[in-house]
Symmetry: C2
Subunit: 265 residues, 2 copies
């Protein structure tokens, strides 16, 4: 990264320009503070209707921010002038549901047939939790949030189906109501929790062995609180196994020009 400016203070357009120039290839947690970061999914048009319907039927794990026209690499509402093929720090490429590898830009895979979906990301509501005085354990630890595949089925849509994936944050019992209310204000980034307490009730057997991310300790007086997670559509994508799918690499999000405060419900 060439800029000497701290990434927290960078404007989203400046960060995207660094990505485009190949000068920023790091995770985006803490970058461009106050601006909405997004999950990215790119699919051939033939899969776009089923995926859009899957998102419509499962808005908590799949909160759609913007859908581009086929072949248009610019999300004009969330990041005018941007190019989704180059402006994300790292991409993952899937073929028939299998990870083929990671790339810095995906121009060579792009065609007029590709549709891009931007989905809300929990970074937005974690900022809101912190602002409300609710500590976020995995941020304190400097690790990735623990995520679990539940036994709660999503509503299927065409070829897309799978169980709900949740992220977990331990919250002191007396702060649980505040955590619900604060995140409930952000329905476009997963919203209020889907479950509080006993992990077994949603089919999680081993809270200390997350399916994705890293475990965090649940201390005395805390309850595990579970939010719908943006990894859910990735599980549905793996099940659908389209011939081509492109996503951001986990933690390497697309940073938009829209302030977090603008997407509160």
């Amino acid at each position: 990264m060439m800029s000497s400016e701290p990434i927290a203070q960078l404007a989203p357009g400046a960060l995207r320009a660094l990505c485009r120039a190949g000068e920023y290839r790091s995770p985006t947690a803490g970058a461009c503070l106050g601006y909405t970061q997004a999950n990215l999914v790119m699919l051939p048009k033939a899969y776009a209707y089923d995926f859009l319907l899957f998102c419509q039927r499962n808005p908590k794990p799949c909160p759609l921010l913007e859908v581009t026209d086929a072949g248009d690499p610019c999300p004009a509402r969330f990041a005018p002038g941007s190019d989704l093929r180059k402006d994300t720090p790292r991409y993952r490429v899937f073929s028939n549901g299998q990870l083929q590898g990671e790339k810095d830009d995906i121009c060579e895979l792009w065609s007029d047939d590709m549709v891009s979906f931007l989905l809300g990301c929990s970074f937005t509501f974690e900022s809101a939790l912190l602002a409300a005085g609710i500590a976020v354990r995995h941020l304190e630890q400097g690790t990735n949030v623990p995520m679990y595949e539940t036994q709660v089925p999503c509503a299927p849509a065409g070829v897309f189906r799978g169980n709900l994936v949740v992220s977990m944050r331990p919250v002191p019992a007396q702060q649980v109501p505040a955590a619900v209310l604060v995140t409930g204000r952000y329905p476009r980034v997963h919203g209020a929790p889907v479950h509080v307490g006993d992990p077994a009730r949603i089919g999680i057997e081993h809270i200390d062995r997350p399916d994705f991310g890293e475990a965090v300790a649940i201390q005395a007086g805390e309850l595990p609180v579970f939010w719908a997670c943006g990894v859910t559509p990735q599980v549905a994508l793996a099940n659908a196994a389209p011939e081509l799918a492109i996503t951001h690499a986990p933690g390497y999000m697309f940073v938009t020009d829209v302030p977090d405060t603008d997407i509160a419900g």
Copy 2:
């Protein structure tokens, strides 16, 4: 109507059964109080992606409640066991964007290629306004709400495009904040207003000559308050002119099993 029970007290399933039996062919305002009523749009599958995307891009005028699979006449979430081909009291049939006529059921037009969309209806938030002590003029008058085509363009999606249509309710100035907050709790039925005050600012020249519905008086001390309106997708449908489109007849809504309180944001 054969039942002697007042329609306000009927269960949604009972009202739908009367529709199906051909014994209820009236507007649904005031029916099954407390249950969500819905706008209905049915389209051939070839148009479903563009229409779904139009709704995603314009959620205030087009708040999607449920989308059925092609050929499935039952919205399993909002009205399990129902049949969208028969359980609405009156339908409108459009060919190439032109109204062909009204029907009591549309079974003969149905095919495995048809997709149904249920969209939120302002009846839900009008109940909430009344409960908050905010009078609703057109209900007092016993007329249809005044609606206006604005000069505010919707975000287009494929063949669907058009200007935003708004409904207007005069609200005493001191109650405007409450009206905003109360309806803002219902994002799935148009949510908070899109405009307060001067109609010319959104391209409405003659407040006394609505494009749809009937005029209401704005009294001294009141401001006109404008909400995104479910007629918007009908204008977009007319512009897209698909070979076949079926909707409910205005005011003759599909009544769901979901309580209004369940769709608050």
